[in-house]
Amino acid sequence: MDLRKYPVPHSQTAARIVDGTAVIVLADTGEVNVLNSVGTRIWELIEGKHNLQEIADTIQIEYAVTPQQALEDLEEFLDEMLKNQVITLEDTAGSSA
């Protein structure tokens, strides 16, 4: 995964953080999902201003995990998000989604 990329919510995604939990609706199926605390924190950072390396660094610091662990967790999370078309990856930083 190219850590210079900037993840942003997919234009077809509906989401909201409710009382510290991200609630996300998958675009195609209308399926509703909730993210755990780490997933919610990553979701907060997915607004086009932080690239993947920056997000991994933030997770490493805030959750006191190794850089390797932070990257692995982030990649696993993003793979799932990309597969379900919840996010897209951009080459440059954009405005807040």
């Binding site: 077809q12 509906a14 909201r16 409710v18 939990t21 609630v23 675009a27 209308g30 509703v32 909730v34």
Partner: protein, 276 residues
């Protein structure tokens, strides 16, 4: 000949063309409790009956198919024996019925969208009024909505399948609908009450309430909103309305056994004073 139904204070006019009088009479009887008088601004839908091939080939191996979409104010609907549309800009629509057809599923879809326009929600849930207090019990298919409804016949059962929740003057009201699920013999009650609580259902061997985190409550409730969730803007609106509900309305999990003892748990239930 026209008839006007009104569900959750939302009127829809239905006119019939080329329909067997027996079909017309059946539909009038079905919606009898929800008929109202003509009023301005009512969405007008013409129902036409016509023989022909099914719009979707029937397939008993799958769940009941309803294809619907909404773009730029136009709602499209198609099922086996019904094909319809509504243009919200022109405030009119049409429904073509095959002889086996029934307007109910079309009306469910139309009302799901009309509700959302008014920041209301049509929800897959059982609704019961007890002592003028509205209770909503939601959950996936098989969670116990029909069972709970059958166990609540000493109160006013609004539906075992669909109800409408609508915010009015900083309070939420629960409305009955003429739509039924697996409990068709239940009366079609046109009633409403102030909503005092929403409960995610869980079958158990005893009756008790358990906390439900706000995020989980919003997700589980939104997952019970039919027809509109595949449209991103609509889904966003649904989540916002559910969040508003979760902030102002107690949402818990009701674990219940197969007897009406759960009402003893709910008898002492008090709504949290609204902060709105």
């Amino acid at each position: 000949m026209d008839m006007i139904i009104q569900i959750a204070d939302i009127p829809v006019s239905l006119s019939f063309a080329d329909c067997d009088p027996a079909i017309h009479a059946r539909i009038i009887e079905h919606y009898q409790a929800f008929l109202t008088q003509p009023q301005d601004g009512t969405l007008s839908i013409q129902i036409r009956c016509e023989s022909g091939a099914p719009f979707i080939p029937p397939d008993i191996s799958t769940t009941w198919q309803i294809r619907t979409s909404a773009h730029h104010g136009r709602i499209e609907f198609e099922s086996y024996y019904e094909r319809g549309w509504v243009d919200r800009l022109e405030n009119r629509g049409g429904l073509l019925l095959r002889p086996q057809g029934d307007p109910e599923n079309f009306l469910r879809v139309v009302y799901a969208w009309l509700c959302l326009e008014q920041s209301a929600l049509l929800i897959h849930a059982a609704g019961v009024i007890q002592n003028e207090r509205g209770f909503v019990f939601f959950g996936h298919s098989g969670s116990g909505k029909t069972t709970l409804s059958r166990l609540s016949l000493n109160h006013t059962v609004l539906s075992d399948d669909l109800v409408i929740i609508k915010k009015q003057n900083k309070t939420f009201r629960l409305y009955g609908v003429p739509f039924r699920g697996d409990f068709p013999e239940a009366p079609r009650t046109n009633a409403a009450a102030e909503l005092v609580g929403l409960f995610a259902l869980s079958k158990s061997d005893r009756h008790y309430l358990a906390p439900l985190a706000q995020g989980d409550a919003v997700a589980r409730l939104a997952a019970c909103v039919p027809f509109v969730m595949t449209q991103p803007l609509a889904a966003q609106r649904v989540i916002e309305i559910c969040s508003d509900l979760a902030r102002h309305m107690p949402m818990q999990t009701l674990h219940f056994a197969r007897d009406n003892g759960f009402w003893k748990v709910l008898d002492g239930f008090e709504k949290i004073p609204s902060a709105a």
